[in-house]
Amino acid sequence: MQDSQATTSQATVQVTTAEHEAHNPALVHQFADAEQQKNAASLGMWLFLVTEIMFFGGMFCAYLIYRLKYFNAFAAGSQSLAIKWGAINTAVLIVSSVTVVLAIYAIRFGRKKLTVAFLVVTVLLGFVFLGIKSIEYTDKFREHHVPGANFHFTENFDDNGKQIPVNPNEVQLFFSLYFAMTGMHALHMIIGISLMSTLAVLTWRGHYSAEYYTPLENAGLYWHLVDIIWIYLFPLLYLISRHT
């Protein structure tokens, strides 16, 4: 290896790599073989997902504590959300998760066009999700339910027909957490969509094959995690108290 160390940086790395592992251009220098590289990438992704869980965990913690104290206000805030859109969005994300696993399934058999097709559908479903989310946000904006100086909330908590007035400040807390959590989730969706679009292009260009598709698999893990977070956000935000 001595000879190949004339310079460092990425360029050299690739030279070295090419010399040593000419049969697999995707293998980078620090790994002994493709198996090790794949396992490392996968573990790295899982650890990253754990940090995501803890990241959202801080907001879940805040949600739990305020919901305990201000149940009525949280229920009133929850009732003002459009359950229809929430449920449809949940379904959209689930279907997108299915298309992601199908894309990875397809690449394992080297079916590149099929893979690209599934990725494109995934991206489209991602946009559908964001579109619906923006409809919801627009409604909230129009109803002055966005926390801040213009926040107004006059509805009551409808507890099985019994009207319970609630403190707007407490409902504002609900909406603060609603926007923080769904906003952070939407940001993750945007990142996921860019990721999936890039991968679709790269797959189209032939970067991935049945032998090497680790980035696809890891992006898939990320997408599923974002899905899982929504799976929890849906009941926590939309379904607090619906039985009227």
């Binding site: 220098h29 090790q36 490392a40 940090t51 803890m54 965990g57 801080g58 305020y66 403190n167 923080a180």
Partner: protein, 548 residues
């Protein structure tokens, strides 16, 4: 920079230092060893910046009146000192400098698992650092490094959001470093290097990485919430709008208490290496020392509200957290006992790194025991938020982390640069650091118990004598820290040339040249021996460098 470590009269053997001299070959390097040096330079800058603020604090406190600077200035000075030291020095220092350099070397790997993410970590860190410097130069922050709400969200008019962004970025740097270490240690150990053969420094960094990954995201989202709260006044932490300021403290300490273990665990790992090498012995109770690192990391997540005993948490929560806090005491004690026991029937050399190790054990013992006092609620109620706490965490953070770091830096300096440091000067500075440190911080225990609150710009005159002592100690400490800075730089050019293993130390990092080649090992090593097999390595007292 580029000329570092090229031995003047040696055949130009290619190593990681002379393999490429352009600025680009450093700033875009993916070599873990070069990134470690980038970190070394940047944390050193932040250390001396933080130290400068520390000197300003000590000078202000020389007299009871606030006469050196305005109250607002003083508040900013201690805030800058705290934030710089915690987020830009103590958290990255050992993992990002020594860990980055050594983790792949110690496990016989060519690099970390994700070299480009490693470089990204440094860029996140340095971007955060630059933003913080900008924030500092354009007004700074005056909330204390804890930036408690509602003061930070609604009452201060300083640059909280900007400082928050800086810390957020530094936090992600830390997350990626931890992620890289865990994957590397899991996936890239050399053949034969099983978990029970790993150096204890690796175990310690593994445990640290767990905390980085699990804790840091919580402070990240907390910072986001504080920023959003400050910008839009949502009420998440504002009692006037129904929020609870204690929720901020819970989230903050959920990270910031374990963060203490991010700082101290890697230093503990360093100490295990030093003691083994300079006592020529396998560390006593290897398995217990290894597992105690993981135990400290996990238990560290169960104790955070002991920072909040007087903050207004419920009586019962206080008791639960006090009880759980003692759980960290056991693995910490286990380490100290095992290190001491390792000395038994050893063959002990008093080289500088060993002096730092002795210092570490002593100071960490005091820091740990006073920590137990703080976990005892009845005592904590009196001494929390006083100089007792300040003294306690400086014993752990400076007496512990920094001692370990300096010990490790001396120990691995020949490996990193190919040069020896001057031994006599190093011994002198170790002595100065030890004496100066105790003189600075021991009086603060007494100050705290007699009631001087922390973050005080002026104080009743009866506290002056102890404060003068502390300031006097700080000036000795400052000399103790400046000396290594000078002789390390000096040694780059004039230091004795180090061979591959100047300490006759065990460990894979000593089996390659000093400095190592870019890909660490010419051949991937195969490990067939246990860690710290000092019975198989004769020490070479004569060759141990005595210079200066």
């Amino acid at each position: 920079m580029a000329s570092i470590g090229i031995p003047a009269n040696q055949a130009p053997k290619l190593n990681y230092l002379n393999n490429g001299h352009s600025l680009k070959s450093w700033l875009l390097t993916t070599d873990h060893k070069r990134i470690a040096l980038l970190y070394l330079i940047s944390v050193t800058v932040f250390f001396f910046l933080g130290g400068f603020f520390a000197m300003l604090i000590r000078l202000e406190l020389l007299t009871p009146q606030g006469d050196l600077m305005q109250a607002d200035t003083y508040n900013k000075v201690f805030t800058m000192h705290g934030m710089i030291m915690v987020f830009f020095f103590l958290i990255p220092v050992v993992p990002a400098v020594l860990g980055n350099f050594l983790v792949p070397l110690m496990i016989g790997a060519k690099d970390l698992a994700f070299p480009r993410i490693n470089l990204l970590s440094w860029y996140l860190y340095i971007t955060g650092g630059m933003i913080f410097l900008h924030c500092m130069l354009t007004g700074g922050v005056d909330t204390g490094w804890t930036f408690y709400t509602p003061f930070s969200t609604d009452y201060t008019n300083t640059k909280i959001v900007e400082a928050g962004l800086a810390i957020f970025l530094a936090g992600f740097s830390s997350i990626f470093t931890g992620l890289n270490f865990i994957v590397t240690i899991h996936r890239m150990r050399a053949p034969g290097l099983t978990w029970d053969r790993l150096p204890l420094f690796i175990w310690a960094n593994y445990a640290t990485s767990l905390v980085m990954i699990l804790g840091t995201p919580v402070i990240a989202i907390t910072i986001v919430l504080v920023a959003v709260e400050r910008l839009f006044h949502l009420g998440i932490f504002d009692p006037r709008l129904g929020g609870d300021p204690l929720l901020f403290q819970h989230l903050f300490w959920f990270y910031s208490h374990p963060a203490v273990y991010i700082m101290i665990l890697p230093s503990m790992g360093v100490i295990s290496e030093l003691i083994a090498c300079f006592a020529r012995k396998r560390v006593f109770g290897y398995k217990f020392v290894a597992l105690s690192s993981v135990a400290i990391a996990v238990f560290g997540f169960l104790v955070w509200a002991h920072h909040m005993f007087v903050a207004g948490i419920s009586l019962y929560a206080a008791m639960i957290f006090s009880f759980l806090s003692f759980s960290v005491g056991v693995p910490s004690a286990v380490k100290v006992f095992n290190w001491t026991a390792t000395l038994y029937k050893g063959s002990i050399s008093y080289a500088t790194p060993m002096l730092y190790a002795f210092g570490f054990i002593g100071l960490f013992t005091i820091g740990g025991l006073t920590g137990l006092m703080l976990a005892t609620i009845g005592i904590d109620v009196h001494v929390t938020d006083t100089y007792f706490v300040v003294a306690h965490f400086h014993y752990v953070m400076v007496g512990g982390v920094l001692m370990g770091y300096l010990g490790g830096l001396h120990f691995w300096w020949p490996k990193m640069t190919g040069r020896m440091y001057p031994e006599a000067w190093a011994k002198l500075s170790a002595l100065l650091v030890f004496v100066g440190f105790n003189l600075t911080f021991f009086p603060q225990f007494i100050l705290g118990y007699v009631g001087m609150p922390r973050r005080y710009w002026q104080y009743p005159p009866e506290f002056q004598a102890l404060n003068v002592l502390s300031t006097a100690g700080a000036s000795i400490l400052a000399v103790g820290y400046l000396l290594p800075m000078i002789y390390f730089v000096w040694s780059l050019r004039y230091g004795a040339i180090a061979d591959a293993n100047p300490w006759a130390a065990a460990g894979l990092e000593w089996k390659t040249t000093s400095p190592p080649p870019t890909f660490n090992f010419d051949e991937t090593p195969v490990v067939t021996w246990e860690a710290y097999n000092y019975d198989e390595i004769p020490h070479k007292e004569r060759r141990a460098p005595v210079a200066g």
